[in-house]
């Protein structure tokens, strides 16, 4: 089977700096990492490949330096890495990104093997939108399985897949048709460490680099700034809350007494809240 994993190179949020004067994010010198959620997608794909055979291709769209993340993905043992890079993609929002990636996935399918599953992380840590995965699914008309915590079974003959999906209040077990798109939830597996041979091969590997034309991206109006209806109006650091937290001493109290004491504190602080809540409850 052929699994394509879409990854994104993001600034390491643990080391990100906001410029003290201009309040803008200082990207220079901040190390980049593979979006942590994407690592679960890579590992899920590798496990399916190990079980069913086939290939894993990682795909990213970004500046040439995004090659570092692809090379790292290769050290985990993926078979192939494709970098989609073109000045025309600069300034892409999630709509434009999902367009460019979907076209590249089509091209990957034509160039190598037909694609059975597209994986992404559940969201990125820099944009946090969780829109690109579903966007790709929609554009490629793939079954869409989001927030997946595990792949239970793949039936290659029957072209079906069963996954576990975390939903509010429980876990859904979903059966769907292939090809599909899966966005993986965090904490569902642990990325492996490639052997020394894999690491050496990764260091030597040729990263497949496509510009818009090579990737078969035809409608340039859907790319980059032109294809991005999202406009960032302002970036700012939220000011700290004026309210201070209060620590309530509950030493030696029974659970009932703790609840009463906590409620008293709340009513003290928000004298009207009891009335408001009662009114709301009565509709």
């Amino acid at each position: 089977m052929h699994l394509v994993v879409c990854i994104k190179q993001v600034p390491d949020s643990a080391q990100i700096r906001v410029h003290p004067v201009t309040n803008t994010i200082m990207r220079q010198g901040v190390p980049t990492i593979i979006n942590p959620y994407d690592l679960f997608a890579i590992e899920a794909a590798l496990r399916l490949r190990d079980k069913h055979g086939g290939k894993v291709t990682v795909l990213t769209m970004g500046p040439p330096m995004a090659e570092d993340s692809l090379r790292r993905a290769l050290t985990y043992g993926v078979d192939r890495a494709v970098l989609l890079t073109d000045r025309a993609f600069a300034g892409s929002d999630t709509l434009a990104t999902s367009y460019a990636l979907s076209q590249a996935i089509l091209k990957i399918g034509q160039t190598y093997e037909p694609v059975d599953i597209v994986f992404t992380g559940k969201q990125t840590i820099d944009g946090d939108t969780a829109q690109v995965g579903p966007g790709i699914a929609k554009r490629l008309d793939l079954q869409q399985l989001t927030y997946v915590s595990g792949v239970n079974e793949v039936n290659l003959e029957g072209k079906t897949i069963t996954v576990e999906r975390r939903a509010e209040g429980g876990v859904q077990i979903l059966k769907s048709n292939l090809p599909c798109l899966i966005t993986m939830l965090e904490g569902t597996n642990e990325i492996r460490r490639g052997s020394i041979d894999v690491a050496l091969a990764a260091a030597r590997a040729e990263i497949v680099t496509w510009n818009a034309a090579a990737a078969g991206v035809a409608e340039m109006g859907k790319c980059g700034l032109k294809g991005s209806p999202t406009v960032v109006k302002r970036v700012f650091a939220p000011s700290p809350r004026a309210d201070k937290a209060k620590i309530i001493d509950i030493g030696g109290l029974t659970p009932d007494a703790i609840a009463t004491k906590t409620l008293d504190e709340i009513f003290n602080r928000l004298p009207t809240i009891e009335k408001e809540l009662t009114a709301m409850a009565q509709g």
Binding site: R17, H19, P20, V21, Q28, G29, P31, I33, D68, R72, T75, R193, G194, S195, I196, D197, V198, A199, L200, A202, A203, R204
Partner: protein, 434 residues
């Protein structure tokens, strides 16, 4: 799959490892470089000042694209007590030359740049991989094992550029573990300020930079120094002392740094800055006598792992780059005459080092670490106070005649240390300086 074989394996991607791997790869050798960090520079800490001459010998046109902060036009040496400093400053417009001599750098960026050059030169780099063992055959090093699954990687010669704390050489019994009195523990912080504020505080403009090196009571009687370097939009400030002295006094490095930052001469320079990074690192400061055996059958040691730091002149990365380059040149010579990488042949590396400034400088100061350590309570305690009081007495105009002032000053020194003691310290200092 049979184990793969390289001409050279370089362990570490700091200045020493990068210089060595670059020089070898440029000459067509098959080089594998192994780095344990997430990216080259992620584990590396330095003040940091980079000396251009030594990098020029490796990458002559480095100024075209290396990430450099400021070129230094002013050096301030401060001898400090708790309220004052007595200083020597040297500033010259001559340092505003076309190809400046010293730059401040930020290592995480610089090392990444350097590593890119190494890879462009043709060396293979693998990251997030720790070399755990050297492999021997008949007493000769023939390759390495790593913490990744899989077998040995073979090489004709292994270059240990693993830094001050490298355990590889120690584990293999080739390099003694550095002793606490031969390594300093330094801590530093990065304080962010707008470039125009830095420029007005230090009386500089454009890419000009200032460096302050400080010693005195700031290290509370322990052998060590403090520093303050100007970057483009930040100030690096740090302090360090011998590990053995920290152990003796029980003081914590961060306490020294907190006090140093509060010193009335330092505080205004960093006022209003935002601390965005802090780091700590060991610095090999044992000098010539602490340099281990540097070569053997199939191996050489370069950089901090070989104790190549000139503590007096605050030089380290340049010695690392030079030892890396010289090791590469020696290896290349042996390789070109198709000779074996025996200890005898690799002694060429040591011979070439002896002829370079590296060994000459270390030899010059070989007695200094002992002197500094022995006289630490005076050099970093009573003397800076005496010097400061003397200067204050001298400059304060209070109706006292100058001759009496001179007498008071001389008397204060004699009272504190005695004529013999003073003479002995002066003699020891002079001797260890030669």
């Amino acid at each position: 799959m049979p184990a793969e074989k390289f001409d050279v394996i370089v362990v570490g991607a700091g200045p020493a490892g990068n210089s060595c791997a670059y020089t070898l790869a440029k000459r067509g050798l098959k080089v594998l470089q192994i780095e344990r960090g997430e990216y080259p520079g992620s584990k590396n800490v330095q003040g940091a000042i980079m000396y251009a001459n030594m990098l020029e010998k490796i990458i002559p046109d480095f100024r075209d694209d290396a990430p450099l902060e400021r070129h230094l036009i002013e050096q301030r040496l401060w001898y400090m007590d708790d309220s004052s400093y007595t200083g020597v400053h040297y500033r010259s417009d001559d340092f505003n030359e076309e190809a400046p001599n010293r730059y401040t750098i930020i290592r995480a960026q610089f090392d990444k740049w350097f590593s890119k050059k190494v890879q462009e030169a043709g060396a293979l780099l693998i990251l997030e991989t720790t070399v755990t063992d050297l492999c021997f055959s008949g007493g000769k090093v023939i390759g390495v094992k790593t913490d990744r699954a899989g077998g040995t990687i073979l090489a004709d010669v292994v270059v240990m550029a693993e830094g001050v704390n490298g355990v590889l050489g120690t584990k293999a019994g080739l390099r003694p573990r550095p002793k606490p009195d031969t390594v300093a523990l330094a801590v530093k912080e990065m304080h962010f300020l707008p470039s125009d504020v830095i420029e007005s505080r230090f009386n500089i403009s454009g890419d000009e930079g200032v460096v302050i090196e400080a010693a005195g009571t700031i290290t509370r009687g322990m052998a060590g120094t403090g520093f303050l370097y100007t970057n483009k939009e930040s100030i690096s400030i740090g302090i360090g002392c011998l590990v053995s002295d920290f152990a003796l006094t029980g003081k914590a490095p961060y306490e020294l740094l907190e006090d140093f930052k509060k010193h009335p001469a330092v505080a205004p320079l960093i006022a209003g800055a935002e601390v965005k990074e802090y780091a700590a690192h060991l610095i090999p400061e044992g000098g010539y006598n602490a340099v281990p055996q540097l070569f053997g059958d199939g191996w050489v040691i370069v950089g901090d792992a070989g104790q190549f730091v000139n503590a007096v002149h605050r030089e380290g990365s340049n010695l690392a780059m030079t030892t890396g380059r010289i090791a590469a040149e020696a290896i290349f010579q042996i390789k070109s005459r198709k000779d074996k990488f025996s200890a005898e042949n690799l002694s060429l590396y040591q011979k070439m080092l002896e002829q370079s400034f590296v060994m000459k400088d270390l030899k010059k100061y070989k007695r200094l670490p002992d002197f500094m350590h022995g006289a630490r309570d005076r050099l970093f305690g009573s003397y800076p106070e005496l010097v400061s009081k003397a200067a204050q007495n001298w400059f304060r105009v209070d109706g006292k005649d100058k001759k009496s002032k001179e007498k008071e000053i001389v008397r204060s020194f004699v009272k504190a240390r005695g004529v013999r003691g003073l003479a002995s310290d002066a003699w020891k200092l002079a001797r260890s300086w030669r």
